[in-house]
Symmetry: C2
Subunit: 237 residues, 2 copies
């Protein structure tokens, strides 16, 4: 086991619009266990993670805590009430992370296919490069990308420059806090955590993760996730 | 059955570098049938398609023809030798399309999960909008996108403007021919057919297709495709 210098913030729903869409998914069963339990297991299994802050709807805290059990192998775990936007939920989780943690890993509760090795790979890169503020997991775009307006193609940017990124995303804790403080002050919004860190002047790099690290959001995604897990068991990507 | 005014060009390998990587995949079995047979079935099953031109490595023509059988339900089928780049292979296929076809649908042989309804949906939009040159199938980007240089994030563009596009891509036959002629004359390259049509001044629109319309390129993709087919059977996306 490594140095437990990292707190994970696991984003599992807030009080806003996203909640209605995604709350059911967190406890939906995937290979016999709640989706959120898979995502939690990835956080817990990472060598450097010493605390997991699960951010969820305030009314769900006890239900989630019970569903996830208490077999945490010495890892600390907290449940925190989320906010209206994903960004508010991450901020709420971050506020509970003690100063002793050097790094923070943010992960979507609805990404059950990311394994602990992905956390450790990202954290090792961050730990090894003092000039880096954060590391995000993604993969180069495999499809051609188009910019689109009103369903019409406006351009075909060179796809070799583009990566699609997911979570986990890991950061130096102080830099992530500063980025969130700045975002709150300026009203800045981002679709991921790294974009707030980038906007605050941070240096973020990408590392390649598996292409099947999907987010379970639509009804059909659960069957797809189930199938992808089965494919992995058969030696698939 | 509709008006068979469309020729499909099914791109299944050329003479170049791509061949070594992808040739095995075309005949690899997916749910008991070659990957290419699935992709061919989608072309054949589309109401408007009256001819399928299969473009493949010259040494593979007889092997592919045999593997795919001859049960074509009255559809014409040709096998044509491909070129060094995907673009050269499409051009070779296009050269065999008789003038009587109003539309051309280009499809990747390694996309076995696109169904015939996707061809018909794209062709119906194209047929109904005289101002359109082409229609491509894709979906809005679900992941956050980053532009990346030497593994460092250089920007986070607004993902709401971006679509990831796949095949089928359908075009007015004369406009696609003109775009290919222009690309050959100018040395222009594109990662998809629409980009050549766009560069030649064409108007292309997107329609939303399934997110699981993956391209089988890596070894693990076959297991993933198999799993996605199984998920569909269970009512997945």
């Amino acid at each position: 086991m490594g140095n437990r210098d990292t707190a994970a913030v696991l984003v599992a729903g807030g009080t806003g619009e996203r909640f209605g869409r995604s709350s059911g998914k967190q406890l939906a069963l995937l290979a016999g266990r709640p989706v959120l339990a898979h995502s939690l297991q990835a956080c817990i299994g990472a060598d450097r993670v010493g605390l997991v802050v699960v951010v969820c709807h305030p009314d769900r805290v006890s239900e989630y805590a019970e569903a996830l059990g208490t077999d945490l192998s010495g890892i600390e775990m907290l449940f925190v009430a989320g906010g209206a936007r994903r960004q508010d939920s991450v901020a709420a989780g971050l506020a509970e992370v003690p100063d002793r943690f050097v790094y923070v890993a943010v992960h979507d509760g609805a990404r059950p296919l990311a394994g602990p090795e992905l956390f450790d790979a990202a954290l090792d890169v961050l730990d090894g490069e003092p000039g880096l503020t954060g590391v995000v997991v993604g993969h180069p775009s495999v499809d051609t990308l188009k910019t689109v307006q009103d369903a019409l193609v406006t351009s075909t940017p060179d796809r070799s420059r583009f990566w699609a990124v997911q979570t986990p995303q890991v950061f130096r804790a102080d830099a992530l806090r500063a980025a969130y403080t700045e975002a709150a002050a300026s009203g800045r919004e981002g679709t991921d955590d790294a974009s707030l860190v980038e906007a605050a002047g941070g240096t973020v790099c990408v590392i390649e993760g598996p292409r099947d690290n999907i987010k379970v959001t639509l009804a059909g995604d659960l069957a797809v996730a189930e199938a992808l897990l089965a494919a992995r068991a058969k030696g698939g990507a």
